[in-house]
Symmetry: C2
Subunit: 111 residues, 2 copies
Amino acid sequence: MTAAGRPGGARADEILAALADPTRRQLLSELAARGSGTATRLAQQLPITRQAVVKHLAVLSRAGLVSSHRDGREVHYAPQPDGLAATAQWLAALAAEWDVRLREIKRLAED
Amino acid sequence: MTAAGRPGGARADEILAALADPTRRQLLSELAARGSGTATRLAQQLPITRQAVVKHLAVLSRAGLVSSHRDGREVHYAPQPDGLAATAQWLAALAAEWDVRLREIKRLAED
DNA sequence: GTTAAGCGCAACTCTCTGGTTGCACTTACT
DNA sequence: AGTAAGTGCAACCAGAGAGTTGCGCTTAAC
């Protein structure tokens, strides 16, 4: 059942749920494109409020997909690609595991 | 932006959202372990109603992660590991793409 | 032909979540 | 010192989602 350790403390639920939202993926994409950014800046190129962006970034942060760093009166957010890569690997491992099980079942059924 | 075609028509939102729910992952896991199963059977080993299970299976089906097949008065659901594997690959591609972009940014910043 | 098993549909409740607005607080600019 | 920019916090609202119950229909079993 315990298919391959999950990335950095964050639960699978959190990571997948974080990635499930289109706005959050867009935020991540934007951050990846620019390297980093503040909530205010990100909100300017989206049809939603800064507060909404802040909430999204909080979700992403809790999932370990972005990190934040305060500099004066600004808070800069940066993507954490390791978390994303780890999640991808974990998903791939799950897929492989299930594939093996299904092949096994199929093999047994053919006897 | 358009990082690698997404699996079989299903949108990223649908797949990720489907996987984000623990109950649905459990259902998938159960199906993978047994090969297939009906909603009634699956509901018996979960603390929820058959109807709830049916809804979950509908979500998984819409995401292309399970397929259903009617046989008489029973409907058998089977996992679709290809969908899962494709999703994992897609995620990995995304991670790689963002990683590249971040390296690029870092390189430019060092000039 | 009756009875039971399995499924589908619809209505309803409750909680979570994405989003908003308003205001107070801190940090920079002039 | 006074103003503007950027955050943070809290209350609030509307919609989506998980789950339930009740009922009617079809397919199997006796």
